[in-house]
């Protein structure tokens, strides 16, 4: 608990120092915002031309993509950059410094290596797109649905976090793990841009049970869009995002702990 309080203190200091350079602060946010505006423009161009992909129309796809974008932004905001640095820290030995302090090593790493606010751009754009989606899509909202949306966003963020934590922890064993991480985080994530119902069974199995990205957007989107895309495997999967998020994060955290116990300093 003490670690957590310390973490927020660190974060406050980080924010203050970041705000010293206003221009850098806002341009980090703007550039990410702009990147994904371009991505959404691409989706719009395609669906403006083709109208529909596998039964999903423009705003269905927007919702699908946005669930991924928003939760990626939310999860990455706190985890991505510090964990990216883990590999080079292991490499040059500075990770040892994290381990000898009386603070939870993960929280200490997250707190001391935080230096990027760009993911706020994802979150701001994500919020705008959600508002547009919900204005266009006829979803009958109820208290339960709103509550479920919020837990999906948190759960999906935890799936992103778990995958980042898991892939970056590999560097506690293998000093060079960047390429593995890039493939899992960037290349595999591309498959989530469109509903996984368009792929063959093998890819669907991988994205559901092995690298379970589908719980980030496809299955929850089915819930909000009345089962669009047909039943893959089992209809219950629509409701599992929060549980999968929690489970995966716990698993990834355990993996990280094992990694720390196994960790042998490079000695430099």
């Amino acid at each position: 608990m003490g670690s957590l309080r310390l973490y927020w203190k660190f974060l406050g200091v980080f924010l203050k120092s970041k705000m010293e350079y206003r221009f850098a602060f806002y341009s980090e946010i703007f550039i990410n915002f702009f990147s994904y505006v371009v991505t959404y423009a691409g989706i719009w161009i395609i669906l403006n031309k083709f109208q529909v992909i596998n039964g999903w129309e423009l705003w269905d796809i927007m919702l699908l993509y946005n669930l991924n974008l928003f939760s990626y932004g939310l999860g990455s905001l706190f985890f991505f950059v510090p964990l990216q640095e883990l590999e080079s820290m292991v490499h040059n030995g500075s990770f040892d410094g994290i381990l000898i302090r009386p603070m939870n090593p993960l929280l200490h790493l997250l707190a001391s290596r935080q230096r990027y606010v760009g993911f706020l751009g994802h979150i701001i754009l994500g919020t705008i797109i959600f508002i547009l989606c919900f204005a266009r899509l006829e979803i009958e909202w109820s208290f339960v649905k709103v509550l479920y949306l919020l837990s999906v966003l948190v759960g999906a963020s935890f799936i992103h976090i778990a995958i980042i934590l898991f892939t970056c922890s590999i560097s506690l064993w293998l000093v060079q793990s960047m390429a593995i991480r890039d493939i899992i985080i960037y290349d595999t994530r591309r498959f989530m841009d469109y509903p996984i119902s368009i792929y063959g069974t093998v890819i669907q199995v991988i994205l559901t049970f092995i690298i379970p990205y589908a719980f980030i957007n496809f299955y929850p989107a089915q819930y909000f869009l009345g089962g669009k895309g047909g039943t893959l495997f089992h209809p219950i999967l629509q409701y599992l995002t929060p549980a999968v998020g929690l489970f995966l994060f716990t698993l990834a955290y355990k993996f990280w702990q094992v990694g720390i116990n196994h960790y042998e300093s490079t000695g430099s």
Binding site: N48, K49, I183, D187, F191, Y194, G200
Partner: protein
């Protein structure tokens, strides 16, 4: 002649440098293949049962699209380059000063390194991915004339992409932090180059906008030529437009170079 030999040495060096990171390139092949796979499925789903769609360049079939993305995914390894990173690193370390006193042209040196890296990418990434893609998904064999024109247009595209990146890199002489601007251009490039979405699917007004940009000259124009979507005369015109862009970008880069070198001298290196 002696100069040329020096530049060839630079190209060789870049080639060998790539060779040192062999495991990395296996992953890059893997990444490219995954990307290709996802794209093919997406276009299959979009084209639906009848497998064709009418566009501004006439009917486009699923086979056209599959060929388009196989070519676009593979030539991306040639059109993309790390010129900005190289310039950025040299400027930050101050090493750039050493390049200024050498009796060689910095731009030509960068260009030869890029070509050396491209040769590596061609042999060890492009060819394997191309062969795999063709076997897995099929390919539309182009006519010899189109293939020849394509190679010409592709080379122009590589040169255009080089100049775009070189010019952005030079801005780093003036402003220490250019990564925002670079991403901004990169994002525009990803949309307007046609590397992901052929411009023939763009709504009319957006296609019009893209005609004023250099980006479609890199991916879209060469591949459009390969697929025989324009007759030979039109192809010549398109290649003419590419040459025009090369001249313009060459001029812009030259001006930027002169301006930024002066500025660098003031800083004192």
């Amino acid at each position: 002649m002696k100069r040329v030999r020096i530049y060839i040495e630079y190209a060789k060096n870049a080639f060998k440098e790539r060779f040192a990171f062999r495991t990395n390139y296996l992953f890059r092949i893997g990444g490219r293949l995954l990307f290709l796979f996802a794209q093919v499925y997406i276009w299959r789903a979009l084209m639906g049962a009848n497998g064709q769609v009418s566009t501004s360049v006439g009917t486009v079939t699923l086979q056209d699209m599959v060929t388009y993305i196989i070519v676009s995914t593979t030539v991306a390894t040639l059109i993309g380059n790390n010129v900005i990173d190289v310039i950025d690193a040299r400027v930050r370390s101050g090493e750039i000063a050493m390049y200024l006193i050498r009796p060689m042209n910095f731009r030509n040196m960068l260009f030869s390194s890029t070509m050396g890296a491209n040769l590596f990418n061609f042999l060890f990434i492009l060819l394997p991915v191309l062969i795999f893609g063709v076997i897995a998904f099929g390919f539309m064999t182009p006519s010899p004339a189109n293939a020849a024109l394509f190679i010409l247009a592709l080379i122009n595209g590589i040169v255009i992409s080089f100049f775009i990146n070189y010019a952005i890199g030079l801005l780093g002489f003036l402003y220490m932090s250019i990564w925002h601007f670079r991403r901004f251009i990169g994002d525009l490039m990803s949309l307007f180059s046609g590397s992901l979405i052929p411009l023939w699917f763009f709504p009319g007004w957006l296609a019009k906008v893209s005609e004023f940009l250099p980006f479609p000259m890199t991916f879209y124009i060469p591949i459009q030529i390969l697929l025989g979507k324009s007759d030979v005369l039109d192809c010549m015109l398109l290649i003419g437009r590419q040459l025009l862009w090369i001249v313009v970008l060459y001029g812009v880069a030259k001006l930027l170079w002169q301006g930024s070198v002066k500025r660098l001298v003031i800083q004192g290196g």
